[in-house]
């Protein structure tokens, strides 16, 4: 994937945007997203006519407007000769949108491509919402009848990790404190009030041993990324981020396979990471910051180990020691991550690229990683049964 650049990005703050179905005034996905598109294109400095491809994240089923992508093309009045498509892949959806937009450029089908979407879901109460999403993270007939929830799989990762490595819940929970501190510096973040470790540990249990602040909230959001052929990016005369490597792996397993494996090795992330680093010609030690899809503290720890940012079994200690915080050895989730920036699942990876665009163009303000040159974005589906990893590089 050579010659593809990220040249513009915009998003609305994560939070509660959607209103109850019976409210007289509704918040509409297309109105919110259109604002992001105009802002992202202005950020890129490109005219609307340059757009050759639109890759949308598929909206949640709570979005009443169907064929959202083609509806949106009309709303924006954008004609495309490359492709217009909605993609879907659970938590990986936003990453797949970026990937498909980059592919449209790399294949020569478009000079400029947008990866964009809105994820609205907060008007649905969490227990009702879980009736839906439990069907995405397990076999409908052989897992779901027992009451597994998406987060329950991560909780079992945490239990196994604590058992194998002798790590206390407190060490894992420091990830939540760290991410909240990062979020306090991010205007796009849903939860910005700093919290203490004691506060994190005192929250009500969600899936033991994880409490409310150790897992991601429900969030609405909208975001738009502008990708362009690198020659186009260079002609704009402003900083951009170049796609330097990409890796993907799907284990051929859905949440869990009947063949016993090392569940907390996150093998797909390790393989996708190695492929992305190999394509980029770098190693994990060369990375300046990483935005990792992690709907729970334990997930950030396990992905950081799988990608080589910390040795096996040492990820929680690395976080507790401040190595993954701003100013540390390898800052992870400077945006606040899914836990605190917020988690509109289908577009959470788009927000990861928004953060990389800010950091790699040295515009992240108080949370800027000094001299950030190499950034990594990783997302997943299942219990990291699949992973998609991109390596981006700052170009001035």
């Amino acid at each position: 994937m050579t010659g593809v650049a990220l040249v513009g990005a915009a998003a609305v703050p994560c939070g509660r945007i959607q209103r109850p179905r019976e409210a007289p005034l509704q918040a509409l996905e297309h109105e919110t997203l259109a604002g992001c598109v105009l802002a992202a294109m202005a950020d890129a400095g490109l005219p609307k006519e340059s757009i050759g491809a639109l890759v949308f994240t598929h909206p949640r089923p709570y979005t009443p407007q169907r064929y959202f992508g083609t509806f949106m093309a009309n709303w924006l009045r954008v004609a495309t000769s490359g492709v217009l498509v909605e993609v879907l892949g659970d938590g990986m959806t936003g990453g797949l949108a970026f990937d498909a937009a980059a592919e449209a450029i790399a294949s020569g089908r478009a000079e400029v491509a947008l990866a964009l979407g809105a994820n609205f879901e907060t008007a649905t109460p969490s227990p009702e919402h879980m009736n839906l999403i439990m069907r995405a993270t397990g076999d409908l007939d052989f897992h779901v009848p027992f009451g597994f929830t998406p987060l329950s799989w991560y909780a079992m990762d945490a239990v196994r990790y604590m058992h194998e490595h002798g790590v206390a819940r407190e060490a894992l929970a420091t990830v939540a404190v760290k991410n909240r501190r990062h979020a306090s510096l991010n205007p796009l973040a849903q939860y910005r009030r700093p919290v203490t470790l004691e506060e994190v540990l005192a929250q009500r249990p969600i899936v033991e041993p994880l409490g409310l602040y150790e897992v991601a909230p429900m969030s609405d959001g909208a975001a738009c990324l502008v990708l362009a052929r690198e020659e186009v990016a260079r002609s704009l005369g402003r900083p951009y981020a170049r796609v330097r490597g990409r890796g993907f792996y799907h284990e051929g397993a859905h949440q869990i396979s009947e063949v016993p494996n090392d569940m907390i090795a996150f093998d797909a992330a390790a393989r996708a990471g190695r492929a992305a680093f190999a394509a980029a010609g770098i190693g994990p030690q060369d990375v300046d910051l990483a935005e990792l899809y992690a709907p729970a503290t334990i997930v950030e720890v396990l992905v950081s180990e799988a990608l080589g940012f910390a040795p096996r079994g040492r990820g929680a200690h690395a976080a507790a020691a401040g190595e993954t915080a701003l100013g540390g050895r390898i800052p992870i989730n400077t945006s606040g991550g899914l836990l605190s920036r917020g988690h509109p699942p289908y577009i959470s990876p788009l927000y990861a690229f928004v953060e990389l665009a800010e950091q790699l163009r040295q515009r992240a303000g108080e949370r800027q990683v000094a001299g950030a040159e190499i950034g990594v974005a990783a997302c997943e589906l299942g219990n990291y049964n699949a992973a998609l990893v991109h390596v981006l590089e700052a170009r001035a």
């Binding site: 879980m130 052989f142 779901v144 027992f146 329950s152 239990v159 009500r204 249990p205 033991e208 949440q255």
Partner: protein, 140 residues
């Protein structure tokens, strides 16, 4: 080899679907037998049962009975439950490595505290009013 059958009043909150193929699994389970398919070519087990081998894609499989014993690999207690399970919350679920080499995920019974990682467990049948489910009961 038979699984203990425990009566549970009421209906299964999320009854599994039954096909012409899997009906045999659920019927055997109701009688206390845990069954699955084994490949006639490569002899590897699959779970859930399939009409072909997922490992080598051979189309010929045979039904075999599994032993109920296993070891807990991990577990959790679900407090924030989907609406259909809210009346049962909090409840325990876990991953169990069966002695026959299969890893399954199911309800975990008989754990008072902690997560029972490494504990011995036996699969049991939960006989609801509308049909069976299986679960793992940890032997204390």
């Amino acid at each position: 080899m038979r699984l203990a059958i425990e009566r549970v009043a009421g209906r299964r909150p999320w009854p599994p679907r039954c096909s012409e193929f899997t009906e045999r699994f659920w019927r055997a389970l109701a009688e206390g037998r845990l069954t699955t398919t084994r490949c006639a070519a490569c002899a590897r087990l699959a779970f859930p049962p399939r009409p072909f081998c997922p490992h080598c894609w051979h189309r010929s499989v045979e039904w075999v009975e599994l032993r109920p014993g296993g070891t807990v690999y991990s577990s959790t207690v679900v407090h924030a439950a989907p609406a259909v399970f809210a009346h049962e919350a909090p409840y325990r679920v876990g991953i169990v490595d069966l002695d026959d080499g299969l890893r399954i995920a199911t309800r975990l019974l008989g754990v008072a505290e902690g997560f029972a990682v490494g504990a011995r467990a036996e699969l049991v049948v939960l006989a609801y009013d509308d049909g069976p489910l299986f679960a793992a009961r940890v032997r204390g």
